[in-house]
């Protein structure tokens, strides 16, 4: 009843293969995008930008990257934090070495540099699988952070080891630094996420995505039918690291403004992004976004409810928030081990027939 599909006929294969085949979904998607792009920039303030939207956008991009590698290609990776650091430090070096370069190019080039690093650390995947590959990528995490701490060239020899993004402008508006308008950074990150989620969706539905999924499902069989494991696995690492590198660059330039390698990109970040895609749903674009929102936004929501609305003391609120988040993760994974995206998919299927059960 909610989904009025009566009268919806597809007259071409192209229309039939659309991402949102049901008109209700399509209109809903564009309504949300229009609201996000046209209404929110006028309502946003510093708190919503710094604590809600930018963290969500940055980690959604990272979760998309990791989902491509782990969810679609089946290569477990615990090096996400290290790759984000590569993106952040690359963008810092580019900003300080080429002051005239615009932010969009810097983000894309940082992503490309991280893709190169990702390919390097993805080479072990050709010989080892599963948990053992996770350990190899864990080495990437620790090695990259150690490297950024060790060689002063990466942080321009500053006394504190911190890197900070100098102020840059785009179309005359300040886009990095402390004097940015929240709407500007919000729109920039939203635009990046929109475009690259679109790209990811199309990549995973195309030839590349299918070869990734073939490797994930049974790599020996895939090799037999002609999927090149070398190219496929390395391309997964490349694309995934590209996304994660971009997210690291946006983390430094637009969200935080300053970062210190060991503190900003520890092993916890790698675990968090992995949890995002597991809870959101492996092998699902929507799952990456939902998982990112779950892990990044729920603590903030709970803190505002406990301390703001209920007025609890701050330490009790913090402990309760940690416990509540943990229990929610357990509940969701018991209810639907495939992740929230699978729950959403099932709900939509049921809603299409509602009020009929089948």
């Amino acid at each position: 009843m909610l989904y009025r599909e009566a009268g919806e006929f597809k007259t071409s294969y192209q229309a039939d293969l659309a991402t949102f085949p049901i008109r209700f979904d399509l209109w809903g998607f564009w309504a949300i995008m229009a609201f996000a792009a046209l209404v929110v920039p006028f309502l946003i303030n510093d708190y919503w930008e710094q604590a809600i939207f930018l963290p969500f956008f940055v980690f959604a991009l990272a979760a998309l990257g990791l989902n491509i590698l782990t969810g679609y290609c089946g290569q477990v990776s615990l090096g996400t934090g290290g790759f984000m650091a590569v993106g952040a430090y690359a963008s810092y070096k580019l900003m300080t070495s080429f002051p005239g370069l615009d932010i969009v190019s810097i983000t894309l080039i940082s992503g490309a540099i991280t893709a190169a690093v990702g390919i390097l650390f993805g080479l072990p995947s050709l010989r080892i699988k599963g948990f053992y590959l996770a350990v190899a990528t864990l080495a990437a995490q620790f090695f990259l952070i150690w490297m950024f701490n060790k060689w002063g060239w990466f942080y321009n020899y500053s006394a504190s080891g911190q890197i900070s993004a100098p102020e840059r402008t785009m179309f005359g508006l300040a886009i990095t630094g402390a004097n940015t308008e929240p709407a500007v950074t919000y729109l920039f990150c939203f635009a990046f996420l929109f475009v690259f989620a679109w790209v990811a969706r199309n990549l995973v539905r195309g030839r590349m995505g299918r070869s990734w999924m073939a490797i994930r499902d049974m790599d020996i069989a895939a090799e037999i039918i002609g999927v090149n494991p070398l190219m496929t696995k390395l391309s997964a690492f490349a694309v995934s690291s590209f996304y994660i590198g971009m997210s690291g660059a946006l983390y430094l330039m637009l969200w935080k403004g300053a970062a210190e390698g060991t503190e900003a990109f520890p092993i916890n970040v790698s675990f968090n992004v992995l949890f995002m895609i597991i809870i959101g749903g492996l092998g699902s674009i929507f799952g990456s976004l939902v998982g990112a929102a779950f892990i990044v936004l729920l603590p903030v929501v709970f803190k505002n409810v406990f301390v703001g609305a209920l007025g609890w003391p701050t330490d009790i609120a913090e402990y309760c928030q940690i416990m509540l988040l943990g229990s929610l993760i357990i509940i969701f994974l018991i209810a639907e081990p495939q992740g929230i995206a699978a729950l959403w998919r099932t709900a939509k299927e049921k809603l299409r027939l509602w009020p009929f059960p089948h």
Binding site: A159, S160, L297, E318
Partner: protein, 460 residues
């Protein structure tokens, strides 16, 4: 879906938290959870109790009640920035994040938003240069002052020369821990000692390897720049390898009862630099007992009274209250804005007499902040732990840092920051001339006199 629910929740939260009329909003960015809580809790309790005392005993600062908004940061930069963004819209007058990492993040933000930040004895050391860092204050001293004072104490202990000695620095591997390295390297060149650097990763519980290295390399002195559980573990490990504790000297953040009590007798003789007194033998504690503790209004569990970090929280609250009072006096209004609070910090002058009036006689160093110098007197004394009596006691007089070395480094680092961020240094009036605050108050006095004269003339 999620967004609408979030909007309703946050709207309710903000609606509930709208500020009442005429009060001073002092946000308290604290950490009562996480690995740094052992040191965050006494500091937060000290700040809370002092502001409660002002509210109960005096009705606030010159009649304006103080409103504290506590926000949990867990010593985490993300949460610290979130707390800042959440509280700044509620009329926050100053920030004391008690975290070098959060301070680094907030320095450009507070400057853009016009709110002063007091990074008391921590944070970015070069913020002592007030010409470049207009909104950041780190009086009464900086990490570079602390490093220099400790080295001076070592020279004193060694009878005048430390040529050829080996000094190790065990430091928290973060912006906080890396701060003194530059100064210690410069002082190594000047005094001829060898510097050994031993980083310890957050949270600092894995130190066995570090202290085995200390045992094998046998440095003559070990300095520590630790925080949170790292302090306790370091003191315990040093006691385990039987390192001579009187040659183990920590910075002012590495020396609290929470750090030394767990190690028991092994910590006897551990030293640290400090900028305020120890214990509860001060007149202000009598007032605290009467108005706060006996009235059941003490913060937290009420078990931190008289501890080193509790005292430090109180002294930071005292300076903030005095800055607010100075701001009220300069601008002639009771209800001050953050910009006025910044002026108050910049004109702060708390001398021995004023300290005695406040009940802090002999408690800390006199502080005189000026436009060009936000880093205070840079004085420190050495305190030592006595494991039998379980107390700290100050064993030296207050000495200053090697200003020649430290000032040169401050100028260099702040110039680099200004170049990187396109900041033009402000003009500061000559120190001999009256401070801006004094000029303004003189003009106001003249204004009122002329007003009286005019009304007298009109009556004629």
């Amino acid at each position: 879906m999620k967004l609408t629910k979030l909007a309703i929740v946050v709207a309710t939260a903000l609606a509930v938290a709208t500020p009442a009329a005429a009060e001073m909003v002092f946000p308290l960015l604290s950490y009562r959870t996480g690995p740094y809580a052992p040191n965050g809790i006494p500091f937060a309790d000290g700040v809370s109790d002092y502001f409660t005392l002002l509210n109960e005993r005096d009705g606030g600062i010159d009649g304006v009640p103080i409103k504290m908004i506590e926000c949990e940061t867990a010593y985490n930069t993300d949460k610290g920035v979130e707390c800042y963004e959440a509280t700044k819209g509620q009329g926050a007058l100053y920030y004391q994040p008690l975290s070098t990492g959060i301070t680094y993040q907030l320095i450009p933000k507070v400057t853009a938003d016009g709110i002063p930040l007091h990074s008391m004895g921590y944070g970015r050391t070069s913020a002592a240069n007030g010409k470049i860092f207009s909104h950041i204050f780190n009086f009464p001293g900086t990490y570079w002052d602390a490093a220099s004072i400790i080295v001076k104490h070592i020279i004193d202990q060694e009878g005048g020369s430390i040529e050829g000695k080996k000094i190790a620095l065990v430091y928290h591997n973060s912006a906080y821990g890396k701060e003194p390295i530059r100064t210690l390297e410069e002082l190594a060149k000047k005094h001829g000692y060898e510097l050994m650097l031993l980083p310890v990763d957050h949270p600092g519980q894995e130190q066995k390897a570090t202290w085995l290295q200390v045992r094998s390399e046998k440095p003559d002195y070990v300095l520590m720049w630790g925080w949170g559980v790292m302090n306790q573990v370091a003191v315990q490990e040093a006691a385990n390898i039987r390192f001579p504790m009187d040659k183990f000297i920590g910075v002012w953040w590495s020396a609290s009862e929470n750090d030394t009590v767990p190690a028991g007798d092994g910590a006897d003789g551990y030293k640290a630099v400090t900028f305020h007194g120890v214990g509860s033998d001060y007149p202000v504690y009598a007032d605290l007992q009467k108005y706060v503790y006996d009235a059941g209004k003490s913060a937290g569990a009420g078990d931190q009274h008289g501890y080193v970090l509790y005292n430090r929280g109180m002294v930071s609250a005292m300076w903030a209250a005095e800055a607010a009072r100075t701001a009220q006096k300069i601008h002639g209004v009771k209800d001050i804005t953050p910009a006025m609070m910044r002026d108050g910090f910049e004109a702060l002058d708390v001398d021995e007499a004023r300290l005695a009036e406040l009940g802090f006689a002999g408690f800390t160093v006199p502080v005189n902040v000026s436009c060009a110098s936000h880093g205070g007197p840079g004085l420190g004394a050495i305190q030592q732990w006595n494991a039998k009596t379980q107390t700290w006691s100050i064993i030296t007089d207050y000495v200053g840092a090697d200003r020649e070395v430290v000032d040169a480094l401050i100028d260099e680092d702040s110039a680099a920051y200004a170049a990187e961020n396109n900041i033009t240094p402000r003009e500061c009036p000559d120190a001999i001339v009256m401070s801006m605050g004094e000029i303004v108050s003189e003009i106001r006095a003249m204004q009122s006199r002329l007003g009286e004269l005019l009304s007298m003339l009109e009556k004629l």
